[in-house]
């Protein structure tokens, strides 16, 4: 075991290999607040990569319903339970003290999947994990919201089947491989068949070396390495690497990187994918004009999923505003409160950058904002239900590609107000 630094935990941790950072890192931000589970991302991935024999139950991208759904079923609860069993009552965060760029959420004092492993002697797996059953892989996102009632004509409302159901709140969680900085799948592979590409940090399985031992399936805490029975190998999300390399002559004749298929097809405009520049020591190079860097490291409104697992995942989420904090804190760590506070009433810079979601298929490496006059004040609902006034400015945000060319431009305009009879005089 080596000691590596995990900035999401604010401390060093055990890992099987030395840190070997990539030049760039594939990363993404998902805004959970806007997802309506249309599954366009899921189908885009399926029709691109996993449409063959042996891949029927394989969904590299999936959207599941929380708090009760999951693919495979209960994947997160099971891993959290294993960690709790390994370290009863000790899984927590020390949030006091100074918050720095390399320690933005405080310090995690519990055990990661690497810390908690290896208690079974020399033959023990280097990662704490479990193997999902076949049933748990079947039927992703089927009947997770409720049992379906009869389909009704458009505009007609009615009840669904009468089964016990949770009526308080729920939200959709969009998931794919996090292309972790310290991948559990890579650490667990007895064949060294899994590697992290030095150019963009995408984690791939060498199909020649893989013998289908499924240690990666067992180890990945997010359960995003999957087994294909007819080839007897493991497969996983490849980050649409040909698109990251800009190898689509139709869409990118300049060879600028393009976002992955699941990102590019998001009709809800919840997804933004990018490439993050890393320094030699593995830390993120400061880039305040990179939209992902701004959302993740500067403003910290996009948070890692289950950072306590310890793999330093590179998928980040803007948490849903309506979900009780305790649930969100377990899922996204201690940064939730500050993230929601900022997101609910975004200032002009944040509002401008949020407009860049899904305006282009090309990866945005840099943005600039041209400031305009103030055009409105609107009342917004804060996470605790209180109201706050948000100022709207006629700003224009421009996105630039890797080669520095302008690729998209969005201007925020004066909002329009619709008032019914009851609210005609409510200005």
């Amino acid at each position: 075991m080596s000691k590596v630094y995990n900035w999401q935990l604010g401390r060093e941790m055990n890992y099987r290999y030395e840190s070997s950072p990539s030049d760039w890192q594939f990363a993404f931000v998902f805004n959970i607040n806007r997802c309506i589970a249309c599954q366009s991302c899921t189908m885009a991935c399926k029709s691109t990569w996993t449409f063959s024999r042996g891949q029927e139950d394989m969904w590299w991208n999936n959207v599941e319903t929380k708090p009760y759904g999951g693919y495979p079923r209960h994947w997160d609860v099971k891993t959290l339970s294993l960690l709790e069993k390994a370290n009863p009552g000790g899984q927590g965060w020390q949030t006091g003290g100074e918050r720095t760029h390399e320690r933005p959420y405080g310090e995690y004092t519990g055990k990661t999947v690497f810390d908690a492993a290896g208690q079974g002697g020399a033959d023990a797996s280097p990662v704490l994990g479990y193997m999902p059953t076949e049933e748990e892989w079947a039927s992703p996102n089927m009947h997770e919201e409720s049992a379906l009632g009869p389909v009704r004509p458009r505009g007609q409302w009615g009840d669904s089947a009468q089964l016990p159901e949770h009526k308080v709140w729920f939200f959709y969680l969009q998931r794919l491989c996090n292309h972790c900085t310290y991948p559990a799948c890579l650490a667990a592979c007895p064949r060294k068949a899994i590697y992290k590409r030095p150019e963009d940090g995408i984690v791939l399985v060498d199909q020649e070396r893989c013998r289908g031992y499924r240690k990666c399936v067992e180890a990945c805490p997010y359960k995003k390495a999957m087994y294909r029975p007819n080839t007897n190998t493991a497969e996983k999300c490849v980050g649409c690497y040909p698109r990251q390399e800009g190898r689509d002559p139709e869409l990118s004749p300049e060879r600028d990187p393009l976002e992955a298929r699941c990102m590019a097809t998001c009709v809800g405009k919840i997804r933004m994918q990018g490439l993050i520049k890393r320094k030699e020591d593995g830390s993120w190079a400061r880039a305040p004009d990179n939209p992902l860097h701004l959302l993740i490291r500067d403003r910290k409104i996009a948070l890692p999923l289950y950072p306590q697992f310890g793999t330093e995942p590179n998928g980040y989420y803007i948490p849903p505003r309506w979900v009780p904090r305790k649930h969100l804190q377990q899922m996204f760590g201690p940064g939730v409160e500050s993230a929601l506070e900022q997101y609910s009433c975004p200032d002009r810079e944040l509002l401008a950058v949020l407009q860049l979601f899904r305006v282009t298929q090309k990866v945005i490496f840099r943005f600039s904002i041209q400031q305009g006059p103030k055009v409105a004040e609107c009342e917004v609902t804060m996470p605790d239900g209180s109201k706050k006034v948000q100022e709207i400015f006629n700003d224009t945000v421009t996105g630039f590609s890797k080669s520095g060319a302008e690729i998209a431009r969005v201007t925020i305009e004066e909002p329009s107000f619709e008032r019914s009879k009851e609210h005609l005089n409510s200005i």
């Binding site: 607040n33 806007r34 309506i36 589970a37 319903t65 919201e145 409720s146 379906l148 389909v151 009704r152 458009r154 505009g155 409302w157 009615g158 009840d159 669904s160 949770h166 009526k167 308080v168 709140w169 729920f170 939200f171 959709y172 139709e250 869409l251 990118s252 004749p253 300049e254 405009k269 849903p320 505003r321 309506w322 009780p324 649930h327 407009q355 305006v359 282009t360 409105a376 609107c378 009342e379 917004v380 609902t381 239900g385 709207i392 302008e406 690729i407 998209a408 431009r409 969005v410 201007t411 925020i412 305009e413 004066e414 909002p415 329009s416 107000f417 619709e418 008032r419 019914s420 609210h423």
Partner: protein
């Protein structure tokens, strides 16, 4: 179909549940605000809560009732407005 018997506390196979806090009206309000921020108007928002294809919002509509949801849409758009943006994307051959 098998008749389900009443739950008994000493049955080890009985389903366990955990009570979760939360306010469904807060969820509705936030969702309406999110989509208003993306430029959706009252008609589009109402459809979001009526189309069974969108299970999340459809279920909210069914649970809370059509009048309650439409009234929320109305009040949110009245104070929040619909954010408008103009977007231009530079195509590969431009």
């Amino acid at each position: 179909m098998t008749q389900r018997k009443p739950a008994q506390a000493d049955d080890p196979f009985e389903m366990h549940a955990q009570v979760l806090d939360g306010d469904p009206f807060l969820m509705v309000e936030h969702i309406i605000e999110e989509f208003a921020q993306m430029g959706w108007n009252a008609q589009q928002l109402a459809r979001l809560f009526q189309d069974p294809f969108y299970q999340a919002t459809y279920r909210i509509g069914v649970s809370l009732g059509v009048d309650a949801v439409l009234s929320r849409i109305d009040s949110v758009l009245c104070r929040r407005g619909v954010i408008r943006v103009s977007t231009s994307e530079r195509k590969a051959n431009e």
